[in-house]
């Protein structure tokens, strides 16, 4: 799996907040290959969410470069909006648009940005809704849905743009425990279709089972990376050993 072509290459990524007072990322180098599921783990405050949010420039890095499909997207001259269309993102707090129906949430971007017809966009959205067993909720508004349903909708909303990579920022952290499973199930299905995914999570079981490669971050640095067996079976660094002993 890791032999595929490089989709995202991160070089010396730095992100400092408040003029350098807070150093969230201190020079991270990483690669994401096509078709790969990369899981990012680490203690809170380790910079893993900031790392993910830098990948589509929701956070503008203060140093380093990010190459997405060969283009340096940290270059201020490029039009980031074009590249973001190819990078789906799922948030911890779902961030569905409350003033639109489920179908409206899913079709607004394809209609406005990809210039799809309303009928085409809705037909595609309905297919995706069937895949996550929510076709009957197409006309519902987000506040009529449970947390797990909201997050499944958020995932298919991003998929409607037919992205080349999906970024997940702690997608199950805001869910009630009994709803975590249904969201992870959808993510597993998605991984099985060959979608490239970068997942920041605290779900070690998911990392182990679905991850092709696991990145462990701490203190704004990429401390250790490898296959899930290496990371969970024989962690090398002390910090990872300490982290895992608290988690498992």
């Amino acid at each position: 799996m890791t032999n595929g072509e490089v989709l995202i290459r991160v070089e010396g990524l730095e992100k400092h907040f408040k003029g350098g007072a807070i150093k969230a990322l201190n020079g991270v180098d990483a690669e994401v290959h096509k078709g790969e599921v990369v899981v990012v783990i680490g203690p809170s405050g380790s910079g893993k969410s900031t790392f993910l949010r830098c990948l589509n420039l929701l956070e503008v890095p203060t140093g380093g470069h990010i190459f997405f499909e060969g283009t340096d997207i940290t270059n201020p001259k490029i039009n980031i909006n074009i590249h973001r269309q190819k990078m789906g993102m799922v948030f911890q707090h779902f961030n569905l648009f409350p003033h639109m129906t489920v179908l409206g949430n899913m079709t607004i971007a394809p209609i406005k940005l990809l210039k799809q017809s309303k009928a085409d966009a809705e037909a595609k959205a309905m297919k995706l809704l069937e895949r996550v067993n929510l076709a009957d909720r197409a006309q519902a508004y987000p506040n009529q849905l449970s947390g797990g349903q909201k997050q499944r909708i958020a995932i298919v909303r991003a998929l409607c743009m037919e992205p080349d990579v999906m970024l997940f920022d702690e997608p199950t952290s805001a869910l009630d425990p009994e709803m975590v499973g249904e969201v992870l199930e959808v993510m597993k299905q998605l991984a099985a279709t060959g979608m490239t995914m970068v997942v920041v999570t605290h779900e070690m079981g998911f990392a182990r089972e679905v991850g092709d490669r696991v990145l462990f971050m701490d203190g704004g640095l990429l401390v250790e990376q490898g296959g899930p067996e290496e990371i969970f079976g024989s962690p090398k660094s002390e910090r990872l050993q300490a982290f895992l002993s608290k988690m498992l």
Partner: protein
Amino acid sequence: MVLLATWLANIQSQFILCFIQDDRWKRYILKGLGNTIKMAVFAVIIGIIIGIIVAIVRSTHDKTADTAHKGFGRAILNIVNGICHVYLTIVRGTPVIVQIMIYYYLIFASSNNGVLVGIIAFGINSGAYVAEIFRAGIMSIDQGQFEAGRSLGFNYVQTMRHIIVPQAFKNVLPALGNEFIVLLKETSVAGYVAVMDLTKGAYIIVGRTYTAFMPLIGAALIYLVIVMFLEWLFHKLERRLRNDER
């Protein structure tokens, strides 16, 4: 019985004196009401246009303070934001009566069109309050909504238009309705610059007839009816927008 009859007769003669005689209802009340409505409607339109522009400038400046690339665009935004800030401070820091007199006697001293001066003065004044209402609305929307829009590939303006503003508008509707009501009543100070609005019209009748009761209560009732109509209208609009979600 007799007392009631004389009281009623008295009311009737006062009514005839104040409104019917010399066509006063038409010359003062109706014409005054026309000017009041003209000023209020056009001032609301100017206020909304100014308000939206200033609110978007101010919230864009605040939202992008630490994410934007430093450059020429940022410098322009800083300057425009500064101008907006000065505008808000001056307009909100001085009484509207003083403002309208400054426009009439100083800035537009060569013009005798009091209604037009009134429209400009009330419009510019209202714009400051509408701007702050809209800005509060925009800032009240969770940052996650903005990020979700941007992550789908919408640019800043598209995100504002399709995602932020529709939600913000719904949230600020009650405050906006209140601002319109205040504005309508505020036009009653236009009499200071020789505009015959509803209040001034009623006041002229008081002077002509030496009776205060009928003209003043009459004017008050007319304001009240218009305000009640506005309240009803906004209530209906609010309910309609809220219904969408449930």
